[in-house]
Symmetry: C2
Subunit: 643 residues, 2 copies
């Protein structure tokens, strides 16, 4: 598309463009909108700058003549012959803030908008945000405010721009893209913001004639979480088999349990059916752990039992190239409207009926976090850690190869589960990004997301055009933040962050240095320290030596023994704080075990995290916390990593 | 200073400034360097913009007339009367890259230069670097390259600027500041870089008539580390006293040890002298742990014993407001040329003679890291952790209130200590920044620095003028990096980073997910993964199942038991890697303890860090590592925090 055609298209869609005029090659101009830029306007010359066919900052007719002649000479020097189809285009130069707006078709999230600082700063400082094409006004504003340049909308220096102008502009871009479904890429660079509005100075549009809408009808999963009867297919008496661990773990299920193994016999005192067909009643959920080639046949039998939900633990499908086997299962599930988790997964846990249908630890505590993940190993490590930390789950879902049930459907279904208060997600790759965004956008429950693949961005360091931005961590993070998800940067935070994220943090310490370091970490994570009131200080004066810090962090001095820790913890009981870090360093007088006991006691009424900053000298205290299943850290940085 | 006076001053110092001309208020101009900016030039009007007394982008005589009249009208509207002392200044407008250069007098580091991207981007993106006024060319270049804008010197887009031009400019700024010692602040904003050189377009200079050089002659510490005889003043038989711990810890000293306590008696089988004067021989080093009021008298007695080095453990000085007591000690030390460490410190350790003159743990292993710190609590925690991790020290110095011996002197003295290979510094505040920089600049041994107080920057978020940049973490970090120090962001890294920082990292894992996360962390910390050669892959094929990852991370698949770990660790023995992370997740088949044993065995010939990613299921393995004093982590993030 030639420049004036793009301008016409944009204008007819409600965008502002610079004033412009076309002139024949040797026409004597009559321009009343200096200063201008002058460019050749010819389908023979695409990259105008490279031909010396662009001149900017032309202020009068004399300048025009000079620029005009130079451009023609430059083109001639390159050996290009112009004809009567070609002409000049003069565009008014617009002053203002140089911004950028682009639209890309991301492999995961589909069409989305990138907005930020334009010009070379786009590449140097990458000060941009990501906005879904279906984002509402709130989301657009939230996303824009993630950029540094957005300070020009909030009183920075003398800037007095209203953010509404940019929001409206972006809404118009959304409309434009929705109306023109075959747009593949849109590059508005730069757009200029000034007191008259937003002007698109240069635009590149790519259309894709073959593009078709990839929207699939979304499946509604019915009562996935509510099962009265389950069957373990491949329940095994061999402790080295996965089917043994699952059979053992499901024993605590508050419902009917059936074991199936072609060898028959007995397992954990229960009958082992040789075949599913032997079971008289219907079955709500089956957990399958048998060789991959046999899975399909078992599912066929399960259809006759009116099965609703199937968890395919068995590996040996897509991950080793067995695409056909996987597709066959998927087709069957679609045909009979069965929900499938897996294959190649760790299993499933649900707290209400105490169903632990995983081959991970049997030590799972009931709680209010729903944990969803692709990697079984990450899930298994987190389940282990959660038990150590006394953290409980309402649901755990291991998606494995994720042929059917996915993040979006599960998030949606979890909305109706009263046991689930938080949703924590470990994601490696998302398939239907739009549906995922929609489910997060609609979630009434806080969502925490950890995503791997940041270094994909590092590999694709180029960033030379917007196409390079697609399908990467930055897009994922930007879009997820704009729909309100909490992004966390380490897997442990998935189980720790939901319960502890807080604004009024108090630090109690027996050493000043480490408390300073901790303060830095808290500030770096946007945590906020609680301000001691005068009354707080008065109360603390009553139990502390006169040289205590009189401030938060509360430095209770290196000679503090357990009695002083106990008194302080008693006093701060009444403070309006969300979270208390207690730093214990091994000083000469430190009776670490007694201090640990005092902390443990106080933790019954207050959210306390001890940081045991030492090794062997604090060994007893650490063992005590471990035995009491109380979360503690022995590194300042790790202790704040979930904030 | 008026604008043309500043221009004259700058020009006479070898700087380029725009072409400019002064005109009487009603003079008819003759300007041959359009486009220009026109400004009023009057001592009555300081903030010209606020009076509407600046007009830019004037392209011809007509524009000049218009701007001229408008400026006079604007000033009149503000009620200011101009007279024959006032005039106009016209300056040529210069196109090019808008940069910034400032000089500030930092409270810690003295005069130093800030360079970076100019204009509003200075505030928004803070893309700046810090350069000492005494920095050499290498340092200047290293610092500049820490900025993103420096990409214009390395082929970014079509930029073809030579970094040498900016280096020369900064060298000229250094000369200018050295020649004009009473400069307090210099604000060159913007400077414009184009093909003709660097132009200072606007400058503000503040002089401080009272400023005097604060350089003090530096003391050379003689043989601080070499002591043949030591005395513990305040050696105590009461296990609740610090003097007991010190007396016990120094027993292993390979030299003569004297105990002094006014009560006399015996301690650990040695005579306890009632008074220093009882000791016949001279003493090289004294460790004092008695009530603060008595310290001065004891030092006076020590002078008679030809004492060279004193460690004042005793607290009760500046930190509780006792400035006089502290100064008296300092004066005495100056008078008799005694080196003092402390007061209010944890003590001192030196490996050659196995001198542990601290009241921290007695478990210190001899090694090659010299650890210097202000906070005794941080030192004590690190000593504890180091013992857990089997990491040794050549020297440990706890500076406490740091009245005499400081970082710079110690770094300098450590250059001659063959046992010390790395210097690790935990700094809370530096006094003589210039001397500190000089010592790091000259150090032949790698230096690792952890500095607290980042959030000072957060508090002083304003950044509204360069003065606000002083004395903060950014200055510290910028200058330290420019002189070649390795900045680490957590205290544990001080003891871990010196030994492990590496470029060829190999990951072995029994689960793909966590390895992806780890890769992200490594990349984020600028670590580099080792590339498997074809031969490496061939060798690994020989011991691994066919579906292993064929790549680094080496995913040996979830069903890996210890024999497979052992085979892989045997194969990779010959690989040219610096560091191996082994991730163990609790999968169903995982025999964690046996795996731990295989890792431990392999660690005898290779630098290996196990990451045990789970809780109780890996408990035995963790206990095994603890007992073998082998470093391991149970969090992916923490495992990379020292890279």
């Amino acid at each position: 598309m030639l420049e004036h055609e793009i301008y016409t298209l944009l204008e007819s869609n409600g965008f502002k463009v610079p004033q412009y005029k076309l002139f024949k090659l040797n026409e004597v101009p009559s321009i009343d909108f200096y200063p201008i830029a002058l460019k050749i306007h010819s389908s023979k010359i695409i990259h105008k700058s490279e031909y010396g066919a662009v001149k900017t900052a032309i202020f009068d007719d004399i300048g025009y003549k000079k620029a005009h002649d130079e451009i023609l000479q430059n083109i001639k020097n390159y050996g290009v012959s112009l004809d009567s189809n070609d002409c000049f285009i003069a565009t008014s130069m617009i002053n203002g803030e140089e911004l950028f707006c682009g639209v890309i078709d991301d492999t995961v999230f589909g069409m989305n908008i990138i907005f930020g600082k334009g010009g070379i700063f786009l590449e140097l400082y990458k000060d941009i945000c990501y906005i879904d094409i279906f984002a509402n006004e709130d989301e657009i504003e939230r996303a824009i405010k993630l950029t540094k340049i957005s300070k020009i909308f909030s009183g920075f220096r003398n800037f007095k721009y209203d953010i509404k102008i940019i929001i409206d502009f972006i809404k118009n871009v959304q409309e434009f893209v929705k109306k023109n479904e075959n747009i593949k890429e849109l590059d508005l660079n730069p757009i200029i913001l000034n007191s008259d509005g937003v002007f698109i100075v240069d635009a590149r549009i790519e259309f894709d004639e073959l593009k078709t809408s990839s929207e699939k009808p979304r499946q509604r999963i019915n009562s996935f979480f509510d099962n009265s009867s389950i069957a373990v297919i491949g329940a095994s008496s061999n402790p080295n088999k996965v089917g043994y661990a699952i059979a053992q773990n499901v024993l605590s299920f508050k419902g009917e349990v059936f074991f199936v193994n072609k060898k028959g016999g007995e397992l954990f005192g229960k009958k082992c059916h040789k075949d599913i067909v032997e079971i008289a009643s219907n079955i709500d959920m089956a957990i399958i752990s048998i060789p991959p080639a046999m899975v399909l046949d078992e599912i066929k039998k399960l259809v006759k039992k009116d099965i609703k939900n199937i968890i395919v633990i068995s590996a040996g499908f897509k991950e080793i190239g067995n695409l056909v086997g996987e597709q066959q299962i998927k087709d069957l599930a679609d045909l009979y409207n069965i929900n499938i988790i897996g294959p190649n997964c760790l299993g499933y846990y649900e707290s209400t009926k105490n169903l632990n249908a995983t081959f991970a630890t049997k030590n799972v505590i009931s709680g209010d976090i729903a944990l969803l993940a692709q990697s079984g190993a990450v899930l298994s490590a987190l389940m282990d850690k959660a038990y150590d930390f006394n953290i409980g789950f309402s649901h755990i879902v291991s998606f494995g190869n994720m042929i059917d049930l996915n993040f979006a459907q599960t998030i949606e279904a979890l909305q109706d589960e009263p046991t689930c208060k938080y949703i924590a997600i470990y994601a490696e790759g998302i398939k239907d990004g739009k549906a995922f965004l929609q489910s997060v956008r609609n979630s009434k429950k806080p969502i925490f997301v950890c995503k791997t693949g940041k270094s994909e961005l590092a590999k694709k360091a180029a960033f030379s055009h917007t196409g390079n931005l697609s399908g990467n961590y930055a897009t994922f993070e930007g879009l997820l933040k704009s729909v309100g998800a909490n992004m966390v940067d380490n897997i442990e935070a998935l189980i720790l962050a939901p319960k502890k994220r807080s604004n009024n943090i108090l630090i109690i310490t027996n050493a000043g240095g480490p408390a300073t370091v901790l303060t830095d970490y808290i500030v770096a994570r946007n945590g906020r320290l609680y301000n001691l009131s005068e009354n707080d200080i008065r109360l603390l004066n009553g139990v502390l030596p006169s040289n205590w810090s009189k401030n938060n962090p509360i430095d209770i001095i290196g000679d503090a023994r357990s009695d002083r820790f106990e008194s302080v913890l008693e006093v701060i009981k009444e403070f309006e704080v969300d979270l208390v870090f207690v730093i214990v360093t091994p000083q000469f007088m430190t009776d670490a075990l007694s201090i640990a006991k005092a902390i443990y006691k106080a933790s019954k009424t207050k959210s306390i995290i001890p940081i045991m900053l030492g090794g062997d000298s604090l060994g007893d205290a650490k063992v005590f916390f471990k035995n009491e299943k109380m979360v503690y850290f022995d590194s300042l940085q790790e202790a704040t990593s979930f904030l």
